[in-house]
Amino acid sequence: MVSSARRFGQYPPMHDVLILGPQFRAPNLREALGRAGIDGPVAAVTAGWQEREGELDALQQHLGQPVRDLRLYERAEAVFAQDGELHAAYRTRQNELRRMQDFYRLRLCHAKAAVRELQQAQDGSAVARQALRSALGALRRLDAGHLRELRAVHARFERAWSAEKHTLLAQQRLDIERVIASAGAVCIAGGHVAVLLNRLRLFGLGRALRTRPLVAWSAGAMAVAERVVLFHDHPPQGAGNAELFEAGLGLVPRAVFLPHAASRLALGDPGRVGLLARRLAPDIGYTLDDGDELRWHRGRLAAARGSCRLARSGTTVPAGDVA
């Protein structure tokens, strides 16, 4: 899959990107920055923490230096409070996205059920194999179509409400870009992935984030990929269907990040792992658990510690191994 950003060639070349596992239990951010030779002041995006945005004590203590929070959540609240028209348009878009997601889920439920039933019906015959291939193709087309529609909604909204055209957004964006420009690295923390992604998008940060080394973990990692996929194989309620949720910022190509995979995914179930890997292909699903670290350099995976990629065979293999 080719990201829209690269396709149109409108963005500067990407700096190194570090993708890490969750940081709240066993942080490895400082070590990862050291290994990548990244130093200098750190700017952080913690909008995914919502009301807790900017509570940086643990992060600063871990890094041993002050961290400047870009305060995207707070800035968005301020912009919405001042610009009722923008806020109304934003809500309308969110409602539209919610409805689209509901309808997609309905279709996904049936498409996944078909694949599961056909997996069980495999009897070694060519007919059964072909039926399964077709069902899987339908599932992949459903995901791809949903992604196209999501991108179209965002493109429409950005045409109407881009930071370039609206003073309030433009002022905030300039201020954010100044902070980013003075930072040695920008960290994007986890949290609520939709809240985080919406704020990053609202201030049009896809471009600015390319200009500095970037470190992202958990929901932050999900947001910088081309696709955001929500997943949970054993939720207390519901079917546990992994779902394509959003178009990400596309800063890391050909990857889908799966934080907390050890607890959220049935990694020992080859049927589920294999199906998810096939749905994501040609992108690769990478598990992100405590201590994991992946480094992208010039758009390619350059180093890996701990993370695994989901294989179409239904197994997981160390992310650093050649596919």
């Binding site: 992935v193 929500l230 949970h232 309620q237």
Partner: protein, 375 residues
């Protein structure tokens, strides 16, 4: 009965020796459990409360030894609470099973617990060191409806922020839920696991529950109007009925349904565990006089249920005498457009049964941001 043969005698001797040597009771097998009691007695009886079985079942003495055994059929994943009744010199004494370390406590004391094959205490009911603990606060309020002062314990979730709005759950017998159903730990765990949102939980405890929980209008006004109004002053609460729940077990279930029915719109979410929903289609109900006001309310409710909540979670143990009343309620509720999730389990009328259902109830009524948050 099989004829005694040297071979059969040898088998019986070896079984007896094994039973005599056991240090653990009951002995669990795929179809049931065997209770074992060592000690001198004239008779030993199993006392347990399984609807459909006798309340007292006699043990058999093995040979001439002070060894007593009783095998009881117990389907997979069952859980029952029991005591031994030991009869000596014409005196009866109820005791805990001396060979069983598993006990359940409730407001009346403790019972021994037999777990059928396959039963496992859910891991989310156990303390999780990673879960940030909420705190217990307290508020005192004057209730005009009850003409009384009441103290209500309030669970406040970890990382509470005044800037966000929280769902409210009112829990009847709330302190009992804390003591006997691990409610605080369960809330901590489910919130930590993002399975439910952080919520404010008001834990009420009535000084006269058999009266106040039995279809009492004053109590309904207290929990549906006075208490939420007071809590709204103290905490940022979401006003939508979908973010308001009320819950209770046994008579607490009756009080929950009654409050929601008398105050439609006050609560959009109900948890009714083993509700004591006595009713009579004709004639008088079969229970004690304590149930008279309950039956009056439930009969009235069955005539005109309305829509006291959008979603209700009901559960009942199949070993409870209340199984019939609870089952009967489900089609009625569904017929009136209420979304109902109903679960039956192989358990009795006890707090551990209610504890084990909390995840199912709360995650359905108050789904958390599990799919959206990756910290």
């Amino acid at each position: 009965m099989s004829a005694r043969t040297p071979v059969r005698d040898a088998i019986l001797d070896s079984e007896t020796a094994a039973l005599a040597g056991t240090t653990r009771s009951p002995i669990v097998d795929p179809g049931g459990v065997t209770f074992v009691y060592h000690g001198s007695a004239d008779a030993v009886n199993l006392r347990c409360w399984i609807h459909g079985l006798p309340a007292s079942q006699p043990f058999e003495r093995v040979g001439d030894a002070d060894l007593w055994v009783l095998r009881v059929e117990l389907p997979e994943s069952s859980r029952i609470e029991y005591k031994f009744e030991v009869v000596r010199d014409g005196r009866e004494e109820w005791i805990l099973d001396p060979l069983n370390p598993l006990q359940a406590v409730d407001p009346f004391g403790a019972n021994s617990v037999a777990q059928g094959q396959g039963y496992q205490r859910p891991e989310w009911t156990l303390a999780d060191p990673a879960a940030r603990p909420g705190t217990l606060d307290g508020i005192a309020l004057r209730s005009a409806a009850l003409d009384d002062d009441r103290h209500v314990t309030v669970y406040v979730p970890a990382r509470f922020r005044r800037s966000r709005r929280y769902p409210l759950l009112v829990v009847h017998d709330g302190l009992d839920y804390l003591r006997y159903a691990s409610l605080q730990g369960v809330l901590d765990n489910l919130i930590h696991r993002l399975e439910i949102p952080p919520m404010i939980v008001a834990l009420t405890q009535s000084p006269d529950r058999l009266t106040e929980y039995a279809g009492h209008d004053g109590h309904a006004r207290f929990v549906a109007e006075e208490l939420p109004a007071q809590l709204e002053h103290a905490f940022p609460l979401h006003p939508s009925p979908a973010a308001r729940g009320i819950m209770g077990a046994s008579f607490g279930g009756v009080a929950s349904l009654h409050a929601a029915w008398r105050h439609p719109g006050a609560f959009g979410r109900l948890v009714l565990q083993s509700g004591s929903f006595a009713f009579s289609d004709i004639g008088h109900h079969r229970r004690t006089v304590t149930f008279d006001p309950v039956a009056r309310f439930v009969n009235e409710f069955r005539r005109r249920p309305g829509r006291p909540a959008e979603r209700m979670y009901l559960s009942c143990g199949i070993y409870e005498s209340l199984i019939y009343e609870n089952r009967s309620l489900v089609p009625l509720l569904r017929h009136h457009g209420i979304e109902v999730r109903y679960e039956e389990v192989r358990d009795g009328h006890n707090w551990e049964n209610w504890r084990d259902r909390l995840q199912s109830a709360l995650t359905w009524l108050f789904p958390g941001p599990l799919w959206m948050v990756y910290e």
